[in-house]
């Protein structure tokens, strides 16, 4: 029996399982998600995947041969949405008892577009995870220098903990201001809390902000700490249940799960809140693995277009994009998360005309996969981008999702004509093409103006995936000079594939105070250097302890040091991968500063650079990784440029740039490495459609990556 890797991604509707064998071959199964017991969906989806290899009857053997099983689910997310976590008590610095309820004004419009932000009537605070009555204040204060300017009133802690336990809380979170510079009050409060629990005879999980997220900004730190206290253990219970079922099915190891910042960890990982939003991680990590494997893709923009949203992330020099205070569920949270930026744009995106200005409006809402475009006849009668793709001849009405889903093209035509084309005074294909062009521009702008701010796209390869990715890839790549434009045959399942491509990794952050003023002497520089190096060492020791505790040896662990730097006075910092492991000399400090200046001048215009700069290092982090078994990216022999006859499917009229063209049709599964296709062409597969407009070429390389380029074929 071969060795396998199992990776499961349980979404809100469907659960995908990818099974990878030791040669890197893989199959993907789908089954409905079963929120009441997610192990059921996992095993059903696994069965479906194994059917492709005729191994459905051998589930036990496959599980027994699995080296790793990775699970990504929505249990923690659902716990937060449904408010079904532990009854949590919150102990905070006195005077901040409303910190959760009050939050920040900007949390009320997280995820809104600017027009919605201006519209005051829309804003709303989320339901607090901890009601005010389960919050207690403790008189204490640490100041910004880490000095205890008000000692902790220990009786406040004792009374507060006792009252909360009497109220029946099932977990406790402690958050004091500036505890990240000096955790002494939180640590002492924890000791007292444990004493009280002992006296009362009831132990509950206890979470300290200085342990789980020792980072500045108390609102985000409180949210992170409360999520850990509120949702981690219920989620872990579900994970243990899945692990148990897998063990019953023959699996012999511990279950792994996925961290928000792209890494795998044991489900026994203490800071489980760092797995709270791992759904979109797969695609980026798949891109990173692809880049690591085939080389030449160290700068990669990963763009996922599905039915609802267009999600993109940017890997630079192999470094993953990280947002350290991401918005999540109407909260800002101090949890490092892959910086994936989304807009509402997909094949399900609704098309409407503004009744007041007759302007064309796309989304941001969407019909998603269900009810989906009008042509699916599942109840949606608002035209969508997918309907336009059909009306333009790009989607094959007889082969949509491999022919499994019937398509009513006439209905899509009639509704689009009535609601969009006629009011605009345009014929149907012209109007449909304008809608598709518009959504492509929106996605392109998202990439160029938002994601790629300060980066030179000539250094970056654009990798498009997701069910709709290959269909719109050329459109959203536009005429910008990308280093390359690529997609993969398994674009629709690329995120699931990426879920199997992650290293075992942990990451820790810590706020520090490092200032390097103009003309700083050696002593001043080394003072800052000690703060930075000391924090790196502390974080490294913590990470090594964690990973060793999970069964790895020290020599398996690779460490990377990061500093977050800015010019003093600026509010936003930049992530700088340190060129040295420690700042042992003045020259080391200078090297770090040089790296920062390089990044700053690339990211912003020179006009922003202060003439007499003071450099500030406000936070550091360390990334610890252990390489794990991952799917291999196969290299096959190249065949000729001409696709085989079996790949040709004839022609179909496709509307492009205002006229109908006879588009060449191909079957993706029949193409061979080395084949080239000249547009206008449509390459069809059961799960996706690749559109090659006129003037473009598609080439399948030896790694079975599809490269698109304009002009002459390569």
């Amino acid at each position: 029996m071969s060795r396998y890797l199992l990776a499961c991604d349980a979404g809100g509707t469907m659960t995908d399982v990818i099974v990878v064998d030791e040669e890197g071959k893989f199959v993907i199964g789908k089954a409905p998600t079963t929120p009441q017991d997610e192990s059921i969906g996992f095993l059903e989806s696994l069965d479906e995947a194994l059917e492709y290899w005729d191994l459905a009857q051998n589930q036990k053997e496959v599980c027994g041969s699995a080296e790793t099983a990775i699970y990504t689910g929505t249990s923690m997310l659902n716990t937060l949405i449904n408010l079904s976590g532990l009854k949590t008590g919150l102990i905070v610095t006195r005077g901040f008892e409303d910190i959760i309820i009050q939050g920040r004004g900007s949390q009320t419009f997280i995820g809104y577009e600017w027009s919605e932000i201006s519209h005051m009537q829309y804003r709303k605070h989320r339901e607090p995870l901890v009601p005010r009555r389960y919050t207690r204040g403790v008189t204490e204060r640490i100041d910004m220098f880490g000095q205890p300017v008000i000692p902790m009133y220990e009786d406040d802690v004792r009374t507060g903990v006792r009252e909360l336990l009497d109220d029946g809380v099932e977990s406790l979170a402690i958050v004091f201001l500036y505890s990240f510079t000096n955790p002494m009050h939180e640590a002492r409060a924890a000791e007292i809390a444990r004493e009280v629990m002992k006296e009362v005879g009831r132990e509950v999980p206890l979470v300290l902000s200085s342990e789980v997220a020792p980072i500045s900004r108390e609102v985000s730190r409180t949210n992170a700490t409360v999520i850990q206290a509120y949702a981690a253990e219920p989620s872990r219970k579900q994970l243990f249940n899945i692990e148990e079922k897998l063990v019953d099915a023959g699996y012999e190891h511990s279950l792994k799960t996925v961290l928000c910042y792209g890494g795998v960890t044991n489900i026994r990982y203490p800071r489980l809140f760092e797995t709270v939003m791992s759904g979109p991680v797969g695609g980026i990590m798949g891109g990173k693995h692809l880049a690591n494997t085939i080389g030449g893709l160290e700068n990669l923009v990963c763009a996922d277009m599905g039915g609802t949203s267009f999600d993109a992330g940017c890997i630079t020099q192999g470094l993953l994009p990280i947002d350290r205070e991401p918005p999540f569920q109407k909260m800002y949270v101090n949890v490092p998360m892959l910086d994936i930026r989304s807009i509402g744009a997909g094949t399900g995106t609704y098309i409407r005309l503004d009744p007041e200005t007759n302007r064309l409006k796309l989304g941001p809402d969407s019909a998603g996969g269900t009810p989906g475009p009008v042509f699916q006849e599942q109840g949606n009668e608002i035209p969508t981008i997918g309907d336009c793709d059909l009306l333009l001849g790009i989607i094959n009405e007889d082969y949509y999702l491999g022919g499994r889903v019937p398509v009513n093209k006439q209905k899509a035509h009639d509704i689009f004509k009535e609601k969009i084309a006629d009011p605009l005074g345009l014929d149907v294909p012209t109007a449909a093409e304008q809608c598709v062009d518009l959504v492509n521009v929106m996605m392109r702008e998202h990439l160029i103006r938002s994601l790629m701010l300060g980066y030179d796209i000539r250094d970056y390869t654009l990798l498009g995936y997701g069910g709709a990715g290959p269909m719109h890839l050329v459109g959203y790549a536009g005429e910008y000079p990308w280093k390359g434009i690529a997609t993969v045959p398994h674009a629709a399942a690329f995120s699931a594939w990426g879920g199997a491509c992650m290293d075992y990794g942990h990451r820790r952050h810590k706020s520090v105070a490092g200032l390097i003023p103009p003309g700083a002497d050696t002593d001043t520089k080394m003072y800052a250097a000690q703060a930075v190096s000391g924090a790196w060492e502390e974080l490294e020791n913590q990470l090594i302890d964690e990973l060793v505790g999970e069964g790895f040896t020290k020599d398996q662990i690779s460490l990377r040091q990061i500093a977050y730097m800015k010019y003093y006075g600026h509010l936003d910092d930049l992530e700088v991968a340190s060129p040295v492991v420690r700042l042992n000399t003045e020259a080391d400090v200078d090297k770090l500063v040089e790296s920062f200046v390089d990044i700053f001048t690339t990211t912003y215009t020179l006009a922003g650079k202060p003439p007499v700069p003071t450099y500030q290092i406000g936070e550091v982090s360390v990334i610890a990784e252990v390489a794990t078994v991952k799917p291999t990216v196969n290299k096959v022999d190249l065949e000729g440029k001409e696709p085989p006859k079996a790949a040709r499917k004839g022609t179909r009229p496709v509307f492009y740039e205002g006229t109908w063209h006879e588009g060449q049709l191909f079957e993706l599964d029949e193409l061979r490495a080395g084949n080239e296709i000249t547009g206008l062409a449509v390459v069809e597969a059961p799960s996706t459609t690749l559109y090659v407009p006129a003037g473009w070429h598609a080439r399948l390389d030896e790694h079975e990556i599809i490269w698109l380029n304009k002009g002459e074929s390569s």
């Binding site: 004004g105 500036y178 200005t357 064309l360 518009l438 929106m442 701010l453 006075g569 006009a607």
Partner: protein
């Protein structure tokens, strides 16, 4: 870049002439630029939207770049900044996120620049940088620096890029950026009067030298200057790329169409949601400074502003605004110019009328009648040296009336979900002195950037979620504020009952409690950027009770250290205003628990002094006796109201469940109590005619009228004779009656 030539006719036309032509076309046709048809939009609606998306994204990219380069917490975290793209004639086409009043000011600045003949002298060349912060020439108040650069395509000026940020200090007579105390424009700090401050994309060295010698925190002021410029350069470079792609003719056409479409959008929104007719709203703001620390002798006075608003919506949904009756200019930094009022209207429009197409267009959808010459809204014809230190102050109060008035118009049409019952006041906290790093510090906290939001037509207002001057309502994190100023937070909780009482209550504000620490001494200004002293703050709608006035507190020379050392209770909140906690806990050389705002502490505050800074809640809607009793009980459980308010204001009979720690309402007992309260109201009431007759006698006799009231009415009647005549007619007073 290509250098495609523009049609010679338009290229040869001076911009000044284009501006005059545009004005004529609007008058003659009713359409901006005479654009009866939007041909680019009609011919290619998808392309029209695509380019709009590109321009919006360009402006927001400028925001990203500019804010990250900028230094002011208030600009970046508080959102008091904006970048925009303009036509050659100045009209804003597309704008970034930020404060939506600024596009009007930036447009006006450009118009002034063109009308002043800058095209000839000093000339406008690629790489030029112009700037203005002077209210006499289109600025609103001097802490808002407006920067603009021309965008040339080939040798043709095709657009302008602009940016504005609110700096931390611009050299006002007192430190900081809320110059409510400025007695005249000579106290308004460093002027930049429509100047070319740089060339070849570089700031002139003398600009930085002036900032260095004339502002208190020059490194931050210069950081903002660099941020504005970086954002403008971003717009310029990206716009040229867009022109390369779409062609200069298309670009020039479509830019105009977006502005005209913005006008149409505003008109259509009013037509669809409001009813035609006249809406009027009386509104007053006071400024009680008598007996307080002031700068000039004539400031030792209590003042009352008349902030009248009249809105006329005609059958075509064209809106006319009038300030007829506005009272006189004041010897404080609280005067505003008509162009700035017009820009304030753009701000209000973007919040209450249209949300989708923010540009200059809506300004052509309405008419602002010239405010009375010599009033607080148009001071220069009478006093050219009136101060505009914090010109927003009366304007935001006036805008609150606009919110409410549009709310009424929407309510009448059935759009109850679009109602906003007003807008909370803006009380600022500024610190100056030696900070915790041993260097000089001056600046504004962000507390005021997140008030309670007003009640809607079908729901309570949100707590700490809205600010009239910026949709980016956010007070940020205490840990960040502590990095800037030598203070330590002792509290930042929701202030119970700080919103108006009503069927739907106003969103609540909060109270910040600070202990002074790590400084040899600082000053604290509890400043007025749009608040009231004694006059009840805001009215609310349809029978709601007004929001209580803001009251500040501080204690100087306290025993706080002793309390800390002995682990005694400290001060973390205001408590019930009728029994303030501070008075029960602290002893101090100076202990003020109910100061009529605004004020500046007469003493320099020392370590362990305490400041308690209030942030307002917002207006309510409907009779508080009609509030759902369970909502009142739920507010009690959350600690957002007090038992006596539940009983005396809402008429709700409540009980407390000790085990569940929850309040609940007794429906039957509540109904009985409410009926009794309604009966008592009826007994107190008198027929209107009777009330009018009694009140008329008092008015005619000027009975018990504070000089502030008399002065206000005198000014209003003198500056607006028609308003005076109407006032006399209402009270049936003699034709020669004056106050």
């Amino acid at each position: 870049m290509t250098t495609e030539a523009a049609p010679p006719t338009e290229k040869a036309t001076p911009i000044k002439d284009l501006l005059a032509t545009n004005d004529d076309l609007l008058k003659e046709t009713g359409y901006l630029f005479g654009l009866k048809d939007l041909k680019r939009k009609q011919d290619d609606p998808g392309g029209y939207e695509a380019v709009w998306q590109i321009l919006l994204n360009i402006c927001n990219t400028a925001w990203d770049v500019g804010c990250r380069v900028s230094s002011s917490a208030i600009a970046v975290e508080g959102g008091d900044a904006l970048w925009a793209l303009h036509l050659p004639t100045g009209e804003a086409v597309a704008v970034s996120r930020g404060i939506t009043a600024h596009p009007g000011l930036l447009s006006h600045f450009l118009r002034q620049l063109i009308e002043a003949g800058y095209e000839d002298n000093p000339g406008i060349s690629p790489g030029d940088i112009f700037e203005n912060n002077d209210p006499h020439y289109g600025g609103i108040h001097p802490v808002d620096f407006d920067t603009t650069i021309p965008i040339f395509y080939g040798d043709e000026l095709v657009a302008w890029a602009s940016g504005v940020t609110h700096v931390m200090d611009s050299g006002y007579i007192l430190p900081g950026s809320i110059g409510f105390m400025n007695p005249d424009s000579f106290a308004d700090g460093m002027p930049v009067t429509m100047e070319r401050i740089g060339q070849n994309d570089q700031l002139h060295p003398w600009y930085e030298k002036r900032v260095t010698s004339r502002t208190r925190v020059p490194e931050f002021v210069m950081g903002d200057a660099r941020g504005r410029l970086a954002g403008c350069l971003t717009i310029r470079n990206k716009v040229v790329e867009a022109i390369d792609k779409y062609g200069v003719d298309y670009f020039k056409d479509v830019m105009k169409e977006y502005v005209e479409d913005g006008r149409r959008y505003a008109v259509t929104r009013v037509k669809n949601q409001a009813i035609p007719g006249r809406l009027r709203k009386s509104n007053f703001k006071d400024l009680a400074m008598k007996g307080k620390r002031v700068i000039m002798p004539n400031q030792d006075i209590d003042l009352l502003f008349n902030l009248p608003l009249e809105i006329n919506i005609d059958k075509d949904a064209h809106v006319t605004f009038s300030l007829s009756g506005a009272s006189s200019w004041v010897p404080f930094g609280q005067n505003i110019t008509p162009p700035a009022v017009k820009s304030a209207l753009l701000n209000a429009y973007s919040h209450m009328v249209g949300f989708d197409m923010t540009n200059w267009g809506p300004a052509a959808a309405w008419t602002l009648e010239d405010p009375p010459a010599g009033s607080w809204a148009n001071p220069y014809p009478v006093n050219y040296f009136a101060s505009a230190g914090v010109a927003w102050a009366p304007a935001v109060m006036w805008m609150s009336s606009l919110y409410e008035s549009f709310g009424r118009a929407y309510f009448m049409r059935g759009y109850i979900e679009e109602v906003a019952a007003g807008a909370a006041t803006t009380l600022t906290a500024e610190f100056s002195g030696v900070g915790q790093y041993g260097t000089y510090v001056a600046g504004l906290s962000l507390e005021q950037a997140s008030n309670g939001a007003p009640a809607r037509g079908m729901a309570d207002g949100e707590n700490s979620a809205w600010c009239i001057y910026t949709p980016n309502a956010d007070f940020g994190n205490a840990e960040v504020t502590e990095l800037w100023y030598p203070i330590v937070y002792l509290g930042r909780n929701v202030q119970p009952d700080s919103g108006g009482y009503g069927t739907f209550r106003g969103g609540l504000g909060h109270t910040a409690v600070w202990m002074v620490k790590n400084t040899p001494g600082i000053e604290y200004q509890c400043g007025c950027a749009g608040m009231r002293s004694k006059v009840l703050a805001n009215h609310g709608m349809y029978g709601a009770y007004p929001v209580w006035p803001d009251r500040g507190s501080y204690a100087h020379g306290t025993n706080l250290k002793e309390l800390i050392d002995n682990q005694q209770p400290l001060v973390h909140e205001r408590g019930d205003p009728e029994d303030p906690i501070m008075a029960n806990i602290l002893t101090a050389n100076v202990l003020e628990t109910n100061i009529i705002t605004p004020f500046i502490t007469p003493e320099q505050l020392q370590e362990y002094d305490v400041i308690m800074h209030p942030i307002s809640g917002a207006q309510a809607l409907g009779d508080p006796l009609e509030r759902d009793p369970e909502e009142v009980a739920w507010d009690l459980t959350k600690g957002w109201t007090r038992e006596r308010i539940a009983s005396d204001v809402h008429g709700v009979v409540v009980s407390y469940d000790e085990a569940e720690k929850e309040w609940s309402a007794d429906a039957a007992a509540t109904e009985t109590k409410r009926n009794e309260m309604r009966d008592a109201r009826k007994k107190r009431s008198v027929p209107f005619k009777e009330w009018w007759a009694q009140e008329r006698e008092r008015v005619q006799a000027k009975e018990n009228m504070d000089p502030a009231i008399i002065n206000m009415w005198q000014g209003s009647m003198e500056l607006s004779p028609g308003y005076g005549a109407e006032l006399r007619a209402f009270w049936n007073l003699p034709e020669d009656f004056t106050f």
